[in-house]
Amino acid sequence: MPKSLGLLEEVLAAEAPSFTFLQISDSHIGFNKPGNPDALGTLREAIAKVKAVPAKPAFMIHTGDITHLSKPDEFDNANQLISEAALDVHYVPGEHDFVDEGMGKAYLARYGKGTKGSGWYSFDDHGVHFIGLVNVVDLKAGGLGRLGPEQLAWLADDIKDKSNSTPIVVFAHIPLWTVYADWGWGTDDGLQALDMLKRFGSVTVLNGHIHQIVQKVEGNMTFHTARSTCFPQPVAGTAPSPGPMTVPADQLRSMLGITSVAVRVGDKPLAITDTPLAS
């Protein structure tokens, strides 16, 4: 039975048109340090890029750090600008979105509807299964990002009836694989999630947090991190810390940007294109 279901899905996928969706990340509204004194301005430019995409994207994802300090006006300002894109936006939180006194209440009041736990969820679009994970909550001393047993159990249940031919896109703020542990760029139990997804023919892992593009392909899995719309961070290990990198003003926009993901018919990997705010 699962086999015939798989065949049916393949037929549906073959008939479905290719489509694109967009990713923005790390808008850090409220940040006002030398790295970028105008976080709202660069987010506005990013949204202008989104609006200029020729074929209308199906939707957009935001991979967290919407705000810098989880303040109500930061969420409000971000929301007002992002809504100008006139697209459905699926969010996951960054650690900066969970530093209010209620430790995430402000984020969940705005974006938590229909989600589980600290804000994780999944949805289907054009035959692709999208999974939004949260790895910035209840972190442990000395560790990295963390999904936690409750979320991992939910994930196992969420995908158990999906056929191996279902394309999977999983997104979370902190990279789900270890980019650079010394700077906290990884997720302690990320491998457990990735192991569950290994059986699928096409898995795309989209993250933010490190404010630069890092990508790799491993078997059927494509890993990609997006640029920030606010400030760049140094390449792993090339600076004393992962803190904001202050670059000359005329170079800043070449290091910020948006990401477009084209989903192609069949078993081909998704095509990921990054566009800077200015070259």
Binding site: K33, H96, F98, L139, W183, G184, S241, G243
Partner: protein
């Protein structure tokens, strides 16, 4: 005249006392810079109040390992203080950058 002098001396002693108690209340500091706690291990006497100061462009949250205390998000130059009345070793970390860890050793 003598009376006034006594008052001045008393006032001077009071100022000294206030000064002393003030320095007691903030006699140990941990600087947060480049995503590290400096010093990473701080040894203080019981009753000492420790002040953390964030010198980074990114907020940090000072949290005891098991949540016994937790600061709010410390933006640049924000401070957090905690008094340690009893001897022992306190392990803490940054709740949003958990690879950042530190230790306070409190001696009797």
């Amino acid at each position: 005249m003598t009376n006034l002098l006594t008052k001045i001396v008393a006032l001077g002693a009071l100022v000294l006392l206030l000064g002393a108690s003030h320095s007691l209340a903030a006699d140990a500091q941990v600087k947060i810079a480049n995503f590290t706690f400096d010093p990473p291990t701080l040894t203080v006497k019981a009753g000492t109040t420790v002040t953390w100061v964030n010198a980074d462009d990114i907020p940090h949250v000072v949290s005891e390992k098991n949540g016994a205390f937790r600061s709010s998000a410390l933006d640049t130059n924000d401070t957090f203080t905690q008094t340690f009345p009893t001897a022992g070793t306190i392990e803490y970390f940054c709740a949003i950058h958990p690879h950042m860890t530190g230790k306070i050793i409190v001696t009797p």
